[in-house]
């Protein structure tokens, strides 16, 4: 749930998972070439193309007797096999006095050896066969993966299964993981963008909320091997895991291999701790972090919706028009292209899976244009609630979404990963189809309705990190400002 701007070449983009996470349908068969247009000299503005006719393959699903869910999709192009696993867990479940435990557990499962192999020995074996293995735990899920040449698959699978079932958390590898976590804490104020994002989450969800809280030196120091073992023991079980496999294999053989690799791993009842729900703040607030830097980092937003909310489809198109689709969205057009105030500017409307998601508008601008940029951003958040979007905006947003839909299915591991995520988060198996069909139906009126209902410019939480004395106008013009003290 913590999304940070990612720089990709020319554009700074925040990837909202759902938008890249699409859906699809399309009909089978290897694509007839463009029929509508074959001339390349015409006016690109008026070229029209037939819809793409493509039915992506679906992965096969199977439940083993130990409760493990499997997805398979064969792909014989390259002699590689990729396995990805999702485990029902997350750092939202770690105890409040051990923040950081989930992440460290995942990391040391990977590095800290098993009952039969030392960690160093596993690393050596994997590197020798150029196998990539990772294990990690984030907010709301655990993940593991194996990417390996076909000829070495059996050896790789045996090691991964061993790490998942019988990790021993060698003391030295725990020390290294804790060292790394502590150094990360020391360094987390080195970049203004990280400060702005983190402080925004803390104000949005509350500093103690599992979706925003951060480890401290104290919580990391308190983590010991017994904690890792207990966390692992609580959540890692075959019936709490989904595995997806793509690549160069035969499904029947693969089922047998997986049954063997995880043989004897008992089912177990997993009880998830209750996570306190987030509380909505009923008014906005402005926060500043003062740093003598030449560019101000701005975040503003408020709580959003859950993925299951049927208004999500209209909201995703609304947000594309406001601040996310391509270069023609309103924030980009005005703040960047027209006024030249920012390289990175945009908005995200991210639905939550288990907890409510958020609306976020972000930007970074030169110090003496800070107020101008912030007020322009607010103006557009207000503006999209005040009048219908244009036909042109709606058409561009919908066509962009529908025509790029196919890229959600451009690789087998993408297809399988998506099916796994739907099952993991209890979304309908045809959710992606619904997504596409619903987006196609979105109207201007619908966008206005959801913008009014779910955007709250009067309740924005605004965080600005910068050199306030040199701003074009003080933030206090917008309301009462609270200074945040930053501690490592």
């Amino acid at each position: 749930m913590r999304h940070k701007p990612v720089k990709v070449g020319r554009f700074a983009i925040i990837f909202p998972i759902q938008l890249t996470l699409l859906l699809a349908i399309l009909m089978l068969c290897p694509l007839p070439q463009a029929q509508a247009e074959t001339k390349t000299s015409g006016d690109p503005r008026t070229m029209r193309f037939a819809p793409i006719d493509f039915q992506p393959p679906k992965a096969e699903r199977l439940a083993l007797s130990n409760g493990m869910i499997l997805y398979f999709l064969e792909d014989h192009e390259l002699p590689i096999i990729t396995l990805q696993a999702m485990i029902r867990t997350g750092d939202i479940y770690e105890p409040a006095n051990k923040i950081g435990l989930a992440g460290i557990t995942g990391s040391v499962m990977r590095t800290g050896g098993t009952r039969t192999h030392r960690g160093d020995e596993i690393d050596e074996r994997l590197d020798r066969i150029a196998a990539h293995v990772s294990i990690g735990i984030d907010n709301t899920s655990g993940g593991a993966s194996l990417d390996i040449l076909k000829k070495d698959f059996d050896a790789g699978l045996a090691l991964l299964a061993d790490m998942l079932m019988h990790p021993t958390f060698e003391e030295e590898k725990l020390t290294i993981a804790k060292n790394s976590a502590l150094e990360h804490i020391r360094r987390r104020n080195d970049r203004p963008s990280s400060i702005a994002t983190r402080e925004f989450w803390k104000q949005l969800y509350g500093p103690e909320n599992p979706y925003a809280r951060e480890p401290t030196e104290k919580t990391i120091a308190s983590i010991g091997r017994v904690d890792l073992a207990a966390f692992h023991d609580k959540y890692f079980a075959p019936n709490n895991m989904i595995i997806g496999i793509t690549g160069d294999f035969q499904t029947q053989e693969m089922i047998a291999k997986l049954e063997k690799a995880f043989a004897g791993w008992p089912k177990k009842k997993v009880v998830f701790p209750k996570v306190a729900p987030v509380l909505e703040r009923n008014k906005g607030a402005i926060y500043k972090v003062i740093k003598p830097i030449p560019q101000t980092q701005v975040r503003m937003g408020h709580l959003g919706i859950k993925q299951s909310n049927p208004d999500f489809f209209a909201l995703s198109i609304m947000n594309d028009i406001l601040g996310s689709g391509g270069l023609s969205n309103r924030l980009f057009q005005d703040v960047r292209t027209r006024q030249g105030l920012a390289y990175s500017v945009g908005s995200v409307f991210q639905p939550g899976k288990l907890e409510r998601g958020f609306f976020l508008a972000y930007g970074a601008t030169r110090t003496d244009a800070t107020f101008q940029a912030i007020s322009t951003m607010i103006k557009h958040i207000e503006g999209i609630r005040e009048g219908l979007v244009t036909d042109e905006e709606l058409r561009t947003a919908k066509e962009a979404f529908l025509n790029s839909f196919i890229f959600s299915f451009s690789s087998p591991s993408q297809i399988v990963g998506r099916q796994m995520a739907l099952e993991y988060f209890d979304l309908p198996t045809d959710y992606l189809d619904q997504y596409r069909d619903n987006v196609a139906k979105v109207t201007k009126e619908e966008i206005l309705r959801v913008a009014k209902k779910y955007l709250h410019p009067d309740r924005l939480i605004i965080v600005a990190v910068g050199d306030e004395a040199r701003f074009d106008q003080p933030l206090s013009v917008l309301g009462k400002v609270e200074a945040l003290a930053i501690t490592p």
């Binding site: 089978l28 015409g42 070229m47 393959p57 020798r128 150029a130 150094e183 057009q333 390289y343 066509e399």
Partner: protein, 502 residues
Amino acid sequence: MKKWILAVALLAWIPLPVSAQTLADRVVSHTLSNGLRVLMVERHQVPTISFRIIYKVGAANEVNGMTGVAHLYEHMAFKGTQTIGTKDYPAEKKLIEQIEQTYTALRAEEGKGIMADSKALARLATQFEALQKEAQNYVIPNELSEIYDRNGASGFNASTGNDVTTYMVSFPANRLPLWIAIEADRMAKPVLREFYKERDVVLEERRRSVETNPGGKLYEDFLFTAFAAHPYGFPILGWPSDVGSLSATETESFFKTYYGPSNTIIALVGDFKADKVIPLLEASFGKIPTTPPPPPVVTVEPPQRGERRVEVEDEANPQVLIGFHKANLHHPDDPVFDVIDALLSMGRTSRLYKKLVVELKIAVSVSTAGGSPGARFDNLFTLSATPRAPHTTKELEDALYAELERLKTEAPSQAELDKVITNIDASLVRSLRSNSGMAGQLAYFEAVAGDWRYVLRNRDAIAKVTGADVMRVAKKTFIKKNRTVATLSPVENGMGQMEDER
């Protein structure tokens, strides 16, 4: 269940030398009549195509006073053409010319410094703003990108490096004619509209990635220290004063010099028929007039006369970057550096990770790179590391130098060398999995090495590297006199940060 692959002959880039032939067989290369190189691989599993256009130009082609121009042009390439992005090009063109005249006069007056006529300055500045506002009336902002978006473009972006500038996008396969029409148009007749606003955007990009980013500052200072003469010392984003003084006319002239057909590589990977595509490319891109070959980069970095060190003070935690000068990618020893790179930092069993992170516990991360900041010209082998408090960059340096000494005195085992080639083969296969990855690899090596097959030849050369080669190259390269060291030192409360007064 349906099989992902239907007919398609096995691509099988099996990590064995034979695979080279398999890949070579599938790449169709063609040179258009004006010298533009095209590389194509058909892949019919999904009805999409990934496109790359690489121009053999980057920050290494810049000169003092105009640093950042390659990157600024890359931004301008998204502004449209004489038909896209405008409501009335002839009228707009007149205004753009007036803007340029005014800017030239304004810059000349500003250049007089304290002798400048303040009234003339104010008048020119007002006129400059007014003309830009007027020109804006003719602009359809971001129209090019909007057309691409509506047609389902994915990964539409560009990047500027020291060696090359890359434009990338993927489309549903039936949009091939659209891509050709737009790209041939912007290669032939781009219009640098909204130039001075985009220049401001680039300065924001610089503030974001350098001036408020400790790692960005360190890398910038590292490069200009290591390269006192060669343009590899220029920041890709340019010096702020240079970027802030560039005119649209100068930027367009840079385009005309370096974006000619013979300086360009196009790669297409995906669902199309190569024999059908070639005539379409010939009829569009092929009609762009040839231009004279761009001027060569003549500057050669003189050998260092002693170790060079630079310190960056910032309100941030320490880091260290170390570079040793080495030859470009055509040198026969280049594959030896690939092996050294892998021995030192590839994976958890690499020498530096095991020594600095696991055994000594003085670092939280360490990495190396075999060709910074580029490959076309003589470059650097670099090592970078992040210390774990309270350990210092000095301790990291000592530990890193000890490992480099070990390379000189002790040949790596055959097992270590085998591990290197196995991993390099696997990463080659992985890099070719996606259409865009494959298009990127083909176009990049064609551009920097003159032939995409370099990637296969280099793989074979790596396989032949011996322990004695490693020792010989290490002895020659990793010496104090040949090294540049940059350290990031913490200061309290930003006393080191008084910059960006533009």
